[in-house]
């Protein structure tokens, strides 16, 4: 019995050791990024490399704020937040219609998700020409609408799945009890798929946050997002590592915060016990 106990212990500690090693391996680039952003130029280029800065100096960040480069993060927030809100609202009511009224027949839902598979590079230049004609290049409207359009299929697909999981009797019961269809969506569908709603919103937000190609082609100076802003620091002769790292940290923080707050919604299971059998 003792040896069995011991073996289990060894296996557990091996597993734990492996988990720690893998986590460190993947966390290292992020650690390095954060460290560079606090280093002085000398420290950045010193050899052998320094594992941590001599002191926590915020000069690299101060420069970004003084030059106004940091507003790129604000642009990203507006664009990602705006397109997520619109895509979530439109996508959810589309999904409801597909799930409950079989709108467009059996295959419309499949067709919609197939739209998500369009390679961005195939459409970016036609869209650019269209935007030039519409006067939407380098505007919030242009970028938000495009991200919304790109995220809608994903939102519709995900939300349709969550809505199909809601027992129909819950909605029927609400209809008989005095709800209109809109009230059913608000009072039954939203709370029932709250976890799914947040999870989908996080993924939608992250997609818009990380998007680079469209932003590169469709923005100039007014609504430059942080992903594009970072590329400005890669020069022909030299790269501004201090600015690159500080800008990258600024761009990473909002996602950390969002995920930290929404983490519990990423785990589903709120509808357990809703209906028996």
């Amino acid at each position: 019995m003792n040896s069995l106990h011991g073996r289990r212990r060894i296996r557990l500690s091996l597993r734990l050791g492996a988990a720690v090693a893998i986590t460190l391996f993947f966390l290292f680039p992020i650690y390095w990024l954060f460290m560079i952003s606090f280093k002085t130029p000398d420290e950045i280029f010193s050899y052998p490399p320094k594992w941590y800065p001599g002191q926590l100096q915020l000069g690299n960040y101060a420069v970004l704020f003084k030059d106004g480069d940091a507003t790129a993060v604000w642009h990203s927030l507006v664009v990602a937040g705006g397109s997520t809100l619109i895509a979530m609202f439109l996508g959810t009511i589309c999904a409801y219609s597909l799930a409950r009224f079989k709108t467009g027949g059996e295959h419309l839902a499949n067709w919609i998700i197939s739209q998500r598979m369009v390679p961005p590079i195939a459409v970016v230049f036609p869209i650019f020409l269209l935007y030039v004609w519409l006067g939407w290049v380098d505007t919030y409207v242009g970028v938000i609408l495009l991200y919304t359009a790109f995220n809608l299929p994903y939102v519709i697909w995900m939300m349709r799945g969550y809505i199909l999981d809601i027992p129909l009797a819950l909605e029927d019961s609400a209809l008989v009890d005095g709800c209109t269809r809109w009230q059913v969506i608000w009072r039954v569908v939203f709370p029932m798929c709250r976890a799914g709603l947040f999870a989908t919103a996080i993924f939608t937000f992250v997609f818009a946050w990380n998007e680079f190609l469209f932003a590169l082609v469709l923005t100039r100076t007014e609504v430059v997002t942080y992903t594009v802003q970072v590329t400005f620091y890669f020069g022909g002769q030299s790269n501004f590592w201090a600015k690159i790292s500080a800008m990258s940290v600024l761009g990473t923080l909002p996602i950390f915060i969002v995920v930290a707050f929404m983490q519990r919604y990423l785990v589903r299971g709120i509808s357990l016990g809703a209906v028996k059998g």
């Binding site: 029927d172 008989v176 009890d177 709800c179 209109t180 009230q183 709120i270 509808s271 016990g273 809703a274």
Partner: protein
């Protein structure tokens, strides 16, 4: 006046014809049970009354008003669903208050109404809990409470007890019937369970294949079934059916395939006049076969039976034997028979048997 009037109702699901022309009138305050096997259209009929399904043809009137295109919320009905349909993210109190809030009832009125409904159903201590913390019986009480609190014109129940175990089901059956007596509202109750139908209904509407097979008071249907289907559906153990022929050798008698003659009482002659010499199906309820002792009453015929199977229930004992090759169950006194293999004298009450035309399956007499 009829509280609910349905005329010529048809409902299709794609190519499936679920309800095939139903006409039904339900008086105010009556407890009506729609009963039938699964797929007979009873739930569809109920959902159409609620407005959750549209009628493809025919009319639904509630209180004299045409309801075909009225939304469920405006029909003044409350409904209890098979799977309780409670909102897992709301407490019991909020679940019961849900309908009141959806109808913008003033907050001050909600609290006492919810408490009163909870009191009626003995779930007051549970008001602060969530559905996942309740047992099946408690969940069903909450679901009923949510309907009761609404004070609607009409209450619909869609197989509300089918998820409960047998003992709870008995208890809730009584509870719902008591509720009907207290509230005096029109109630329509769907079930596939003939015992629920018999025990609860003022009137049973027996559906088969999208049509009404027969409607009437429970004992009427039980004692005077119109068709073989109704005769076989109601009653447990079910009615026994034996193929036979009607013979006239002075007095009328039923002749079984093996030659056994069972004399019919003279009182049944009238309706059977045209059936002499014709094939006929004999229907006998298990409780109309008893242990024969001494001189038999008028209309009872003696039959010697070799018992093949004995099933005591405590109060009664079910004994299976063969009558001209057909398996027949008799519901005897508890100690009438103890072992399979016994041969005993039985008496069949020919006053109460049902005679069915095997071609049309209609009851002849």
């Amino acid at each position: 006046m009829a509280d609910l009037k349905i005329t010529g109702l048809h409902k299709y699901y794609g190519s499936v014809h679920a309800v095939k022309g139903v006409d039904l009138e339900i008086p105010a305050g009556e407890f009506t049970v729609l009963v039938g096997q699964s797929g007979c259209g009873k739930s569809t009929l109920l959902r159409t009354i609620a407005g959750l399904e549209d009628a493809d043809q025919g009319n639904i009137e509630i209180g004299g008003e045409l309801m075909n295109h009225v939304l469920p919320r405006d029909r003044d009905i409350a409904m209890v669903f098979q799977n309780y349909a409670l909102y897992p993210y709301l407490t019991v109190f909020d679940n019961i208050a849900f309908g009141l809030r959806a109808r913008k009832t003033p907050a001050a009125e909600i609290e006492p109404k919810v408490r009163r409904a909870a009191q009626m159903l003995a779930i007051e201590p549970l008001l602060g809990r969530y559905p996942r913390q309740l047992s099946g019986g408690q969940l069903q009480r909450v679901a009923i409470g949510r309907a009761v609190v609404r004070n609607a014109r009409m209450y619909l129940f869609d197989e509300p007890l089918s998820n409960l175990d047998a003992q709870l089901r008995d208890e809730m059956r009584g509870e719902i019937k008591r509720l009907h007596q207290e509230l005096g509202k029109t109630m329509i109750y769907v079930t596939h369970d003939q015992i629920e139908a018999m025990t609860m209904a003022d009137r049973i509407v027996l559906l088969r294949d999208g049509k009404i097979e027969q409607a009437g008071a429970p004992l009427d249907l039980y004692e005077r079934p119109a068709t073989r289907y109704v005769a076989g559906f109601l009653g447990s153990p079910a009615m026994n059916f034996v193929p036979a022929q009607l013979q006239d050798s002075g007095a009328l008698a039923v002749q079984l395939a093996d030659g056994t003659l069972l004399a019919l009482p003279a009182s049944r002659n009238d309706k059977l006049a045209g059936w002499r010499g014709q094939p006929i199906t004999l229907g006998v309820r298990p409780e109309h076969i008893t242990r024969a002792s001494g001189e038999l009453r008028q209309g009872l015929v003696r039959h010697t039976a070799l018992i093949e199977l004995v099933q005591p229930t405590g109060s009664r004992t079910y004994a299976t034997f063969r009558l001209s090759g057909a398996e027949v169950v008799a519901e005897l006194q508890a100690h009438d028979v103890s072992q399979p293999g016994e041969t005993i004298e039985l008496a069949i009450d020919m006053n109460r048997v049902v005679l069915i035309d095997p071609a049309t399956e209609l009851v002849v007499s």
